[in-house]
Amino acid sequence: MTFTVVRGQAPPARRPRFGRHLLLCLIGLVMMYPLLWMISSSVKPSITVFTDESLWPAAWDLGNYPRGWTSLSEPFEVYLVNSLIIVTLSIVGNLFSCSLAAFAFARLRFAGRKLFFAMMLGTMMLPGHVLVVPQYVLFDKLGWLNTYYPLLVPHFLATNGFYIFLMVQFMRSLPTELDDAARIDGCGPFRTFWKVIMPLCRPAFATTAIFTFISVWNEFFAPLLYLTDPRLYTVPLALRQFMDSEGQSQWGEMFAMSFVSLAPVIGFFIAGQKHLVKGIATTGLR
């Protein structure tokens, strides 16, 4: 018997590890069960979704996918493309505007820097619902209802302090000698930003991009508010239509399209886990 003292915690009173793993696996099963049930229901005939309790379908109906794809007012690829356009431009906007602001806060000295930084932290706590009525009025006056501008413009204006904060934290961890060396070599602030700092910030940018992807992909309130034309709908708005046609009880199709809507998020999660975990640990973002 070997004593493994894990980081010196607890005197090595060996607990049965088996019990702990059993507990952790059980929690994991509870956490995953809703998703597994959804995937399983997406390949069952609609009439057996609530009668066939097994996760492994007794009868299969893969036709849920093609039928669900075309069962809403537009074919599903329209919604996927709409969401993809909004998500891509939002990522570009956040990376652009937040990195500029973060560079100023982290690396430049100018009058009012501390005040502005405090304001930025303040806006992070500001509940968005207080702003929504006047912003809606503004977008209405600009004639931007039923366009993507209300969803995109805020991302190009660095309104999400979390991403700025994340990048500031990251940039502060880079040695200032880099900036000094660049200045001696004749770089102005813009060249320093573009040639020296930007390339080193890739991990922070990856975190920002993944979080932006997931939050914008799931975003429901703003599209609900600003988009009323079904051809402009994003994936969440489109999915919601299944609730209106509930009487038809096409559950299999609904779960099939639900899974299609979640698949990109799950994919991004698997691809970008490392950045995500690091990102929430440093900023408390979720």
Binding site: I27, A104, F110, I266, I280
Partner: protein, 293 residues
């Protein structure tokens, strides 16, 4: 020297240009909504000054009181509950479990999905009359109600949905637990402190700033819950107003009835409530949050 400083100033402001725009885009609406809160405004005709009329109406608006109740219950139950689960699971994982990364990922994934329409719709069926939960209860001979469609239980299903997202505070707690020097535990163990005693006197105080941070953030977010109530009730806040979250009612008032003056005064009431809770949090922090430096 001064020339160089001023050039730095100018560069700083140039880099902040988009951010200045964004800040204006928040500050102006902030005060505009304060003004609108004292007006009668339907978007078509210019706002008319109404004094305290909106606030007087709010005093007698039973639906508003119900939405406040729903939001308060949801917040005050689900936030502490999910933080407690997050902390408990983080402590189990922190003891050097093999396969930590896998467990962490599995627990964390739901946090990324829970805000989506797909999951809230799914919840409605899992907690439906014929749903998975009742299927499970049937093994024990219990016939459960249609949880999501029963006014007594509908909100509880959404509280469980919130607890399902304990993974994101858990990851933050895990990172915090890593920072606690092992020697504190060693020294206490040598002195004969029990594991409960070490939790109370070492882990909890050293983790308290992180718990505090999570608490403040979750409360602010939770007060603004919208999607869950909207999707599970298909926009109505039903059954029987049991999932009528404050922001859902605000949405109905402002953007279905276009009573934007009233919606603005509602927004400011909620802001006051959130600010109040946050202030209480910060005041109470003096007693239990411990900064080790």
């Amino acid at each position: 020297m001064t020339v160089a400083v001023r050039r730095q100033d100018r560069a700083g402001y140039l880099f902040l240009l988009p951010w200045f725009g964004g800040t204006l885009f928040m500050i102006v609406p902030f005060f505009a909504s304060l003004y609108l809160a004292f007006t009668d405004y339907d978007l078509l005709t210019p706002p008319r000054w109404a004094g305290l009329a909106n606030f007087r109406t709010m005093l007698g608006d039973a639906t508003l009181h119900q939405s406040l109740r729903v939001t308060l219950i949801y917040t005050l139950v689900s936030v502490p509950l999910s933080l407690a689960v997050a902390l408990a699971v983080a402590m189990v994982l922190d003891r050097g479990v093999r396969g930590l990364a896998i467990y962490r990922s599995v627990y964390y994934l739901p946090s990324l999905l829970a805000g989506s329409v797909a999951i809230v719709m799914l919840w409605r069926y899992i907690f439906g009359y014929n749903g998975v939960v009742n299927g499970f209860l049937a093994w024990f001979g219990v016939q459960g109600p249609g949880w999501a469609s029963d006014p007594r239980y509908a909100l509880s299903t959404l509280i469980l949905l919130h607890v399902w997202t304990f993974g994101s505070p858990m990851v933050i707690f895990l990172a915090g637990l890593r920072q606690i020097p092992a020697m504190y535990h060693e020294a206490a163990a040598v002195d004969g402190a029990s594991s409960w005693r070490r939790f109370r006197s070492i882990t909890l105080p050293l983790l308290s700033p992180i718990i505090f941070f999570n608490l403040v953030q979750s409360l602010i977010a939770s007060f603004q819950t919208f999607t869950q109530g909207y999707v599970i009730s298909n926009g109505s806040g039903g059954p029987g107003q049991s999932t009528l979250f404050y922001n859902l009612y605000l949405y109905q008032k402002g953007f279905a009835e276009f009573d934007m003056g009233y919606a603005s005064s509602m927004a400011w009431l909620l802001l006051t409530v959130i600010a109040g809770f946050t202030a209480i949090n910060f005041l109470a922090a003096r007693w239990w949050v411990f900064y080790d430096n």
